[in-house]
């Protein structure tokens, strides 16, 4: 496993130029995630309208994996319905090997339809870092539940 596979260019790009940074004052959902062991932080504001996420804003700090993952996640979920997001999240977890052998996912191509997120596939070989990649998704889960 090479480090160049972990730190793909697209990841470094999202790390250095994170999309959708900021806060929303009209958010319908908000959550803060922290990885107490390494200190990574992701904070999400989002707007859900008619069962569809219309806006996402991200703040936080941490390693390239957690921050790039947040940026990519924001990119992909905007405009998607809650159901679509659940499916993406499921594929993401399968790619990270978080739910061993999810039968609904083609194991040979779990990253399919994940867009840039597919670049995070390499993380799977670095078990300590999987929680970095997953932090934004766990936070999203929470933000989708609670009010701002």
């Amino acid at each position: 496993m090479s480090l160049d596979d972990l730190y793909r260019e697209v990841i470094l790009d999202h790390y250095r130029n994170p999309r959708h940074r900021g806060r929303l004052d009209h958010a319908t959902g908000h959550a803060e995630g922290q990885n107490p062991l390494c200190g990574d932080e992701v904070s999400l504001d989002l707007v859900v309208e008619d069962g569809r996420v219309t806006e996402v804003a991200v703040t936080g700090q941490g390693c390239s994996i957690s921050q790039a993952s947040a940026s990519m996640m924001a990119d992909i979920v905007i405009g998607k319905t809650i159901e679509e997001i659940a499916e993406i999240s499921r594929r993401f977890r399968a790619m990270m090997d978080l739910d061993e052998g999810d039968p609904g996912i083609d194991a040979s191509r779990p990253g399919e339809a994940l867009g840039d997120l597919e670049a995070l596939q390499g993380v799977r070989r670095f078990p300590v870092r999987i929680k970095c990649a997953n932090l934004p998704w766990a936070t999203l889960q929470e933000a989708l539940q609670g009010p701002a």
Binding site: L3, D4, L6, Y7, E9, L12, R16, C38, G39, D40, Q61, G62, C63, S64, I65, Q67, F126, V128, R129, C132
Partner: protein, 414 residues
């Protein structure tokens, strides 16, 4: 750059089996001794032999085995006392570690002697172990926390004492050696300051005692807390040194067996110092291991330990200076610092650095190193830290530097 120092201690690496293991396909370069050190076989064998031949509970057995266990345990206390030149073994309380040592002063002295309006003087570079207990005691007593700032070269700023030192200050608690910056604390100055206002001094010596000669009788302070696991000893044990005068003012922060003189239904009396501070079955095998670690360090000589670390730290600072975009946080002068070297490299997050180094078998720590207030002051959420000990060799520094260059390449740092 002066070139690689010759390491006089390199031969003792054979005593540390873990240093011959591989990590991620490379020989382990263990550069995280500030977090915990590796253990020589002498320490492991002492504990193993204790369990195989001498194990019994201490202090209460009238049979030979228990007597031997008690002698071994108290013998370890005497060794630790000698190591820091305590006036007597009674001045050494065995604790669970540095954290427990500091908590036992905060709760055993602070809770009984502090009140509203009193001040606890801390510094901006403290480890959470020397912050959170005081925050808790401040909450319980109404005392106030006050902080000494740092100088521009990362030392505790004693000039600031001027505005902060007065009779309200009842405790001055500070680190003898920073686990992040390496900075050696101005112990004598702060001890003197404390005496001038009648405050007690509490030294977080978690990093100091392992890395330099310490003579508690010469320091002019009241309490000194340290742990075994950062000085070749086992986990699960530490020591609190206190002057007898101050130990007499300390209340036990735990109650139980072994620490009592008599127990009635509603009240109890305490036994002598130090046993009144050691409720319950103590970490016996761990004390034996601690004693063996002290023996090992004394056989090397703490002057030698210190000068070995100075030379490897000098070498590390020189070689790290070759890496573009790398910034070290800590004093430049070797005389003012120990062997913890914290740094950041360009915009590469320290956790990413640690992962990249780990792939080369190099173990460094990344994070806030239990010093969040300090990291806020440094305006970085995290740093990477390489830290050295008696078994560290220049080759490990070379590998670290090479891997940092590689990290720059991977992250495309121009």
């Amino acid at each position: 750059m002066e070139g690689r120092p010759i390491s006089g201690l390199a031969r003792l690496r054979d005593d540390f089996p873990i240093l011959s293991t591989e990590m991620n396909g490379h020989p382990l370069a263990y550069l995280d001794s500030a977090a915990t050190t590796q253990k020589p076989v002498q320490v492991l064998d002492a504990m193993d032999a204790y369990y195989r031949t001498t194990n019994a509970n201490v202090h209460r057995g009238a049979y030979l085995l228990a007597t031997r266990a008690t002698e071994a345990y108290e013998g370890a206390r005497a060794k630790v006392a000698g190591f820091v030149n305590a006036a007597s073994p009674q001045e050494i309380v065995f604790t669970r570690g540095t954290t427990t040592g500091i908590n036992s002063i905060a709760f055993g002295w602070g809770l009984y002697h502090l009140r509203e309006g009193d001040r606890i003087l801390l510094t901006m570079l403290e480890h959470h172990a020397n912050l959170v207990p005081w925050q808790l005691v401040a909450r319980h007593t109404g005392a106030e926390l006050v902080y000494l700032p740092l100088t521009s070269d990362y030392l505790i700023d004693t000039a600031a004492l001027e505005g902060l030192l007065d009779e309200r200050v009842k405790v001055i608690a500070f680190s003898g050696m920073s686990n992040v910056l390496g900075s050696i604390g101005p112990i004598e100055v702060l001890g003197e300051a404390a005496r001038s206002v009648g405050a007690i001094t509490v030294v977080d010596a978690a990093q100091m005692v392992p890395h330099m000669p310490v003579d508690v009788q010469a320091l002019g302070v009241d309490f000194l807390a340290f742990g075994a696991h950062k000085m070749l000893g086992p986990t699960g044990i530490g020591a609190l040194w206190g002057s007898m005068e101050r130990l007499e003012q300390l209340e036990p922060s735990e109650g139980g067996g072994e620490m009592i003189r008599d127990v009635g239904l509603y009240e109890s009396t305490w036994t002598d110092i130090p046993h009144r501070f050691e409720a319950g079955t103590p970490p016996i095998a761990e004390a034996i291991g601690f004693g063996a670690a002290v023996d090992y360090l004394e056989a090397i000589g703490m002057e030698v330990v210190r000068s070995h670390e100075e030379s490897i730290t000098r070498y590390a600072l020189e070689r790290l200076a070759e890496v573009p975009d790398l910034r070290v946080y800590g004093p430049d002068h070797l005389s003012q610092r120990g062997g913890a070297v914290s740094f950041t490299l360009a915009d590469i997050h320290p956790h990413d650095l640690a992962t990249i180094l780990d792939q080369q078998g190099i173990a460094v720590r990344a994070g806030h190193h239990c010093t969040r207030p300090l990291h806020r002051l440094l305006e970085v959420p995290a740093t990477a830290r390489a830290s050295f000990y008696v078994y560290s060799i220049p080759e490990e520094v070379d590998r670290l530097v090479a891997a940092l260059h590689e990290a720059r390449r991977i992250f495309g740092v121009a």
